[in-house]
């Protein structure tokens, strides 16, 4: 069951490597991502988007404030699609997806069916027994997306998931992600997407949080009022893109 993500008064300080002086990266960040919503975080490089994502993922702790869910963090099923696929090279594609079932209450007999179904959805049915190094970059990232959806996450975090891919591949995978997101056969998670690509944010997100300043915070939140399923060449998305650019420059 998806959950609100409440980021309340979050600040993050840390000392850059090789220095002793702590620097405040994020200050007084307040943002609520509603259950089932996908919010994109955009902003200039180094503004703390990925830091904020790490705080939501529990990979780091805020220096001040808190990140809260509807339930305790331990009770939240959380998945991440990283910039790099982060697959285990010595496990087959099927095993890389299936590994996330370990320690979770998923019926052992049901697991292979879920993996096969996801492989079909990400168009990798024929490559279930292949090892990752025999896949292209785009195929690896599709495995990573399938892995993220395998556990039916309550919260799905996407950390620049398509930025390492060529534009054509990235475009296909954005559409794939949209179709998985709109898939009615599984509960929709709450999503946070970090991206440098404003059109990607407009294509995928319900709202776009524009970050900036020093130390950084959320400066503006832009609604993406475009019905789904969206087409990447929809002129309405370019209008959203223009608004985001204005917010970033303004």
């Amino acid at each position: 069951m998806s959950s609100d993500i409440r980021i309340e008064g979050v600040a993050k300080r840390f000392a850059p490597r090789g220095t002793d002086a702590a620097r405040t990266i994020l200050s007084q960040v307040d943002l609520t991502v509603r259950a089932g919503e996908l919010v994109a975080l955009v902003g200039p490089s180094g503004c703390g988007k990925s830091t904020l994502l790490n705080l939501i993922a529990g990979l780091d702790r805020p220096s001040q404030g808190r990140v809260a869910f509807d339930r305790s963090q331990d009770a939240i099923s959380l998945s991440v699609v990283f910039q790099q696929p982060r697959l285990l090279d010595w496990l087959s594609v099927e095993e890389n997806i299936g590994i996330v079932f370990e320690g979770r209450a998923v019926d052992a007999a049901e697991r292979p069916r879920v993996v096969r179904e996801l492989l079909r959805k990400v168009e990798l049915s024929e490559h279930g027994r292949a090892y990752p190094q025999f896949l292209s970059g785009g195929q690896k990232q599709r495995v990573s997306i399938a892995r993220a959806f395998a556990v039916q996450p309550d919260v799905l975090l996407l950390d620049e998931p398509f930025s390492a891919l060529d534009e054509l591949t990235a475009r296909r995978l954005r559409s794939l992600l949209q179709s998985l997101w709109l898939d009615e056969s599984r509960p929709r998670p709450t999503g946070v997407l970090v991206t440098h690509n404003m059109l990607e944010a407009a294509f995928l997100a319900d709202r776009i949080a524009v970050m900036g300043g020093s130390p950084a915070g959320v400066q503006q939140v832009i609604e993406v009022d475009v019905p789904r399923p969206r087409h990447p060449d929809d002129p309405a998305l370019f209008e959203v893109h223009r608004k985001v650019m204005e917010a970033l420059q303004g």
Binding site: A57, G58, L59, L78, S79, V80, F82, Q84, R86, L88, D89, W90, L91, S92, E94, E95, I99, V100, E102, G103, H127, R129, A130, Y131, Q133, F134, L135, S136, G137, G138, Q139, R147, V151, L165, D166, L168, T169, R172, L173
Partner: protein, 278 residues
């Protein structure tokens, strides 16, 4: 071009049966030909030297072969090599029991790395002869001497292998494991052990050659059987062909271990680099 659908395919299906046999023969010739040539030239060179020098210190290949056949046919070589291998294997297991925790600890903890560093350097620099002498002095003529000496001899290289294996784990994979909250047993079974597997196998290959040099010395100084003891016995009677025959017998056994055990384990550990899962 859309690169998303590119997959590195395995080579196309080979031609018919006759063609396959010819290809296999050619591959075998390419694989083993240079090695066979080396041994033929070595034997020829040795035989030539024996004939020119005409000295009992340089026996001919026929005399060496006779000695080799004699110790092999009687089964004596096999029993003695078996004893030596048993000692080496026990020493190896003992070293592995210590190498795993020390290697993992010194890879993940700066304190542990600094703590164990002098010991590893000491272990790498101390000659096998010293371990052999000390163990014979401390433990006398018992199984403990060769086992402990081998363990001390191979421990540093095994620790380094484990250390390198642990350090090769990407921080990004550690984060992935944390995010998906994989249980400790799964992480051990599906992340750590497969990762360390190939490093331990290559560490064992290096360690085995070190172990051989240590075990021979222990058996010379403090044992009443084993390959080292037999080498010493042949040396004492000035039987040069005996010394060479025992060396060749053990070398052959090492090759069997290399191909039968280490290469098989290595191929298994690296199977994911070659193609689809079996």
């Amino acid at each position: 071009m859309n690169t998303d659908h590119i997959i590195l395919e395995r080579p196309a299906a080979p031609p018919g049966r006759r063609g396959t046999l010819a290809l296999r023969l050619r591959a075998a010739a390419a694989r083993f030909g240079p090695q066979a040539l080396f041994f033929v030239l070595l034997a020829a060179g040795w035989e030539g030297m024996a004939r020119v020098l005409h000295s009992p210190l340089v026996p001919g290949t026929a005399a060496i072969a006779r000695e080799l056949v004699a110790i092999s046919v009687s089964g004596f070589a096999f029993s003695e090599i078996g004893v030596t291998f048993l000692r080496m294997s026990l020493g190896f297991l003992l070293a592995l029991v210590f190498a795993l925790p020390i290697g993992i600890a010194s890879a993940v903890s700066r304190f542990a790395e600094r703590f164990f560093e002098p010991g590893i350097i000491l272990g790498l620099t101390v000659p096998g002869l010293v371990w052999a002498l000390l163990c014979v002095i401390w433990f006398g003529v018992s199984l403990t001497s060769p086992v402990v000496a081998v363990a001390l001899g191979v421990l540093p290289s095994l620790v380094i292998s484990v250390q390198q294996g642990v350090r090769s784990l990407d921080h990004e994979i550690v984060e992935m494991v944390r995010v998906f909250r994989l249980p400790g047993a799964t992480v051990l079974r599906k992340v750590w052990l497969p990762l360390l597997y190939s490093f331990i196998v290559s560490g064992c290959r290096v360690g085995f050659s070190i172990a051989w040099k240590v075990i021979v010395l222990v058996e010379i100084f403090g044992m009443s059987n084993g390959v080292g003891y037999q080498l010493n016995a042949q040396f004492s009677t000035q039987n040069v062909e005996g010394v060479i025959a025992w060396t060749i017998a053990f070398w052959a056994a090492m090759i069997v271990v290399e191909h039968g055990v280490f290469r098989t384990l290595e191929a298994h550990a690296n199977r994911w680099k070659r193609g689809g899962a079996s």
